[in-house]
């Protein structure tokens, strides 16, 4: 089972992750279901015992759960291949546009060298690919101590934080 890093600590993972083609959820326990299953069995899923999460594939629009984000304990975004960067945009949209505050988990081809980008986009949980060294992965968050851009991690871009720190204060927009 994949190691889970959450908020920069290695933690136990009690969630069961269903495959994208799953057509039914187990009766009990914490479960992460594919979007299609959520859309098809919304009412049933809400009444079952156990917490509920949803997983999004790269091509799935996070707008599809915009009104429901408060219902999920986890939103998992899949990276089938590390080179497929759509999940980064998905994460930012969930955090910045749809106001998702819960656990945002990267799953799939989740590798040490991409963790800092993922964290920048709002992921706070990382289900590492099996071959990844968890201790080594924890160090990856400190590869860079600053960033230029506005991001989920640093909502103000560096240039605004610089302006705030300068004696003249700053001008908004």
């Amino acid at each position: 089972m994949a190691t889970l890093i959450k908020e920069r600590r290695i933690v136990a993972d009690n969630w069961r992750l269903l495959e994208p083609d799953a057509t039914e959820a187990p009766a009990a326990g914490d479960v992460i279901v594919p979007l299609a299953l959520w859309q098809a069995q919304r009412a049933q899923l809400l009444t079952r015992a156990g917490r509920l999460g949803v997983r999004l594939e790269p091509s799935e629009d996070p707008a599809a759960i915009a009104d429901d984000v408060g219902l999920f304990g986890v939103v998992a975004v899949n990276f089938p291949k590390f080179g497929d960067g759509r999940g980064y945009s998905t994460a930012r949209l969930l955090r910045e546009r749809y106001g998702y505050k819960g656990e945002l988990r990267a799953i799939g081809d989740v590798l040490r060298d991409h963790l800092s980008f993922m964290a920048g986009c709002g992921f706070d949980a990382f289900a590492l690919r099996d071959d990844q060294d968890p201790q080594d992965a924890l160090a990856a968050f400190d590869d860079f101590t600053e960033a230029y851009q506005a991001s989920v991690e640093r909502p103000l871009p560096l240039f605004r934080r610089r302006a705030l720190a300068s004696p003249d204060g700053m001008e908004w927009s």
Partner: protein, 583 residues
């Protein structure tokens, strides 16, 4: 020159440490070939035919002499004593060892240089006009805006794994010397009626196997919104660009499949969410970046120099060079000098370590310790006193850097081609050399006038063949090298009538245009003959020496050229016999 502050430096240093660890893990077998590939590429390291190739970023082509000395040191210490300036205003080293690269990057970091995002599916080096800051037709100093965009694009977490590479060019002058119409995003600085700076935004241009001219998706974007608008474009591309086929993954294909209007609507819809958000630029930041650029402290000089005038009248060789390689400057008493890296017999864009050191000396003595790399693969000393031109010319000539061919046929843009590149179908450097030898007579060359000749060794079009007045493309036919020839391309100068150097309107400046193939391909040995036939045809048809090759192609079309090249096989044979007899 933009000078790093503590944070700029820290990020580059942290990158060196990160890459050193990635290399260590790869060599220890902890990173797969495939995973390391993605990491090394976004640090400019390719594995090429003979050895790795390292591409070092020269942001927007601006280089300090101390940086050039470092590049010379790297060429001498870690490579075979030379480097190659590319059409993205970067430099490439063809023979470094993979295990030496972390050390090379550490040395580069000591002079505020790096190889960040010089390859890979990320936002690449931002390119611009090599006359930025000195051009008479300047609207804004594009370097400042390039630096704003460089910072936004560096390690941008959301846009680090795009469907494909992404190239942005900024032009800050009336004339477009940055080929913005053939970039993923092209930005033209414009001023509105109140004098406020903004940008005309073009998207979806590109060369490669599907050459397309970019579409204007916004006529005026106020400068404050520059980064949020870029975020919107990149987000639409990152989410919806094709990832199923590497040849259809550039933004131009998304734009083509959606249609420019639909694409524009999607960008605007995305932008409505981002507009006026925290990434909205503030004037303090523009002022801060502007102030971190060192500027030449120009002397107050007369607009003309009697010594220069006398030398021009007396020395024809100097006058020839002055006419081709010296450009006017916005400050009286100064000029911009192009050092040609297109000497016959030298691969276009190649410079030896020794030349680099000597060029750095020239920059120190004549041009405020700075120089620029042009996308045409030459070096520019942008701030030279008129009274120094002759002395500089003599020194440049002794270094083999004063070939008076800027804007002429032998100033060939050329990719490394099959001699170095593993993608190439055919060699390109030997073809360039054969053409340069054929047109070695300077009087003839100058008589032919302005002509851009570009060569690519494969359809990836690194040599920009689609936008050469004459473009040559290496193709593979059953394992043999053949060359397809296009005419009528143009890298795009200006939509406005502009006066040329001698007050002559640059007829037919026009926007960018893509060349048309004249017919079946040729064997390598025949290429110089074909070019010569095209030139003969042009000379027969031009109405005066002010009508350039490209103007004639536009006026009469490609048919007469086609007929002249293919029409009469006997004539071609007899022509070749004559040449052999004369040789």
């Amino acid at each position: 020159m933009y000078l790093y502050d503590e944070i700029d430096q820290r990020l580059v240093d942290e990158r060196v440490a990160q890459y050193r660890d990635q290399t260590r893990r790869f060599l220890a077998g902890k990173l797969s070939e495939d995973e390391f590939r993605a990491l090394r590429l976004r640090n400019g390291l390719y594995i090429q035919k003979h050895a790795p190739m390292l591409r070092v970023a020269i942001p927007y082509g601006l280089l300090a002499s101390r940086q050039l000395r470092m590049l010379a040191h790297i060429a001498g210490t870690y490579d075979r004593g030379y480097g190659h300036f590319s059409t993205r205003q970067n430099i490439q080293f063809n023979w470094p060892k993979l295990e030496d690269v972390p050390e090379i990057l550490a040395e580069l970091a000591t002079v505020q240089m790096h190889a960040i995002q010089t390859s890979g599916n990320s936002v690449r080096n931002i390119t611009t006009d090599h006359f930025a800051g000195v051009a008479r037709d300047e609207i804004v100093d594009s370097f400042v805006w390039c630096e704003v965009i460089r910072q936004w694009s560096t390690f941008n977490p959301e846009f680090s794994y795009l469907p494909r590479k992404f190239k942005i060019a900024v032009n800050g002058a009336l004339a477009d010397r940055a080929a913005t119409q053939v970039h993923d995003i092209g930005l033209h600085a414009v001023r509105d009626a109140n004098g406020e700076v903004g940008f005309r935004v073009l998207v979806g241009g590109g060369l490669g196997r599907t050459p397309i001219i970019g579409h204007v998706i916004r006529e005026f974007l106020p400068w404050r919104h520059l980064l949020t608008y870029l975020d919107a474009i990149l987000r639409v591309y990152n989410r919806h660009g094709r990832r199923d086929n590497i040849h259809k993954a550039r933004i131009k294909i998304l734009m083509k499949e959606r249609g420019p209007e639909k694409f524009r609507e999607e960008v605007e819809a995305e932008w409505r969410h981002l507009k006026d958000g925290p990434a909205t630029l503030i004037s303090e930041e523009i002022t801060r970046i502007d102030a971190r650029f060192t500027r030449p402290s120009y002397a107050r000089l007369p607009a003309t120099d009697a010594g220069l005038e006398a030398a021009l009248a007396a020395d024809r060789a100097f006058a020839n060079w002055h006419r081709r390689n010296v450009d006017p400057h916005k400050v009286p008493g100064y000029a911009a000098v192009t050092l040609s890296l297109k000497k016959t017999g030298v691969a276009p864009g190649d410079v030896t370590a020794e030349q680099m050191d000597r060029i750095a000396d020239l920059a120190d003595r004549y041009s405020f310790e700075e120089l620029r790399v042009s996308h045409e693969q030459n070096l520019i000393l942008a701030d030279v006193r008129l009274s120094d031109l002759r002395a500089l010319w003599r020194e440049a000539r002794s270094l083999g850097l004063a070939t008076p061919n800027i804007g002429l046929l032998t100033n060939i843009i050329c990719c490394p081609g099959g001699d170095f590149c593993s993608l190439a179908n055919a060699v390109s450097i030997p073809v360039a050399e054969a053409i340069q030898r054929r047109f070695d007579d300077l009087d003839y060359l100058h008589d032919i006038g302005e002509l851009d000749l570009n060569i690519s060794g494969c359809m990836n079009a690194c040599g920009h063949h689609h936008v050469g007045h004459i473009g040559i493309l290496g193709v593979d036919k059953n394992g043999e090298e053949w060359y397809q020839i296009e005419i009528g391309g143009n890298q795009g100068t200006t939509p406005f009538p502009l006066l040329g150097k001698e007050g002559v309107p640059q007829s037919g400046g026009g926007g960018a245009a893509l060349g048309k193939v004249i017919g079946p391909s040729f064997a390598r040995d025949d290429v110089p003959d074909v070019i010569e036939r095209l030139i003969e045809c042009y000379l027969t048809h031009r109405d005066s020496e002010h009508e350039r090759f490209i103007d004639v192609v536009r006026r009469i079309g490609i048919e007469p050229f086609k007929e002249y090249v293919y029409g009469n096989a006997d004539q071609r044979a007899s022509h070749r016999r004559r040449q052999l007899a004369a040789a």
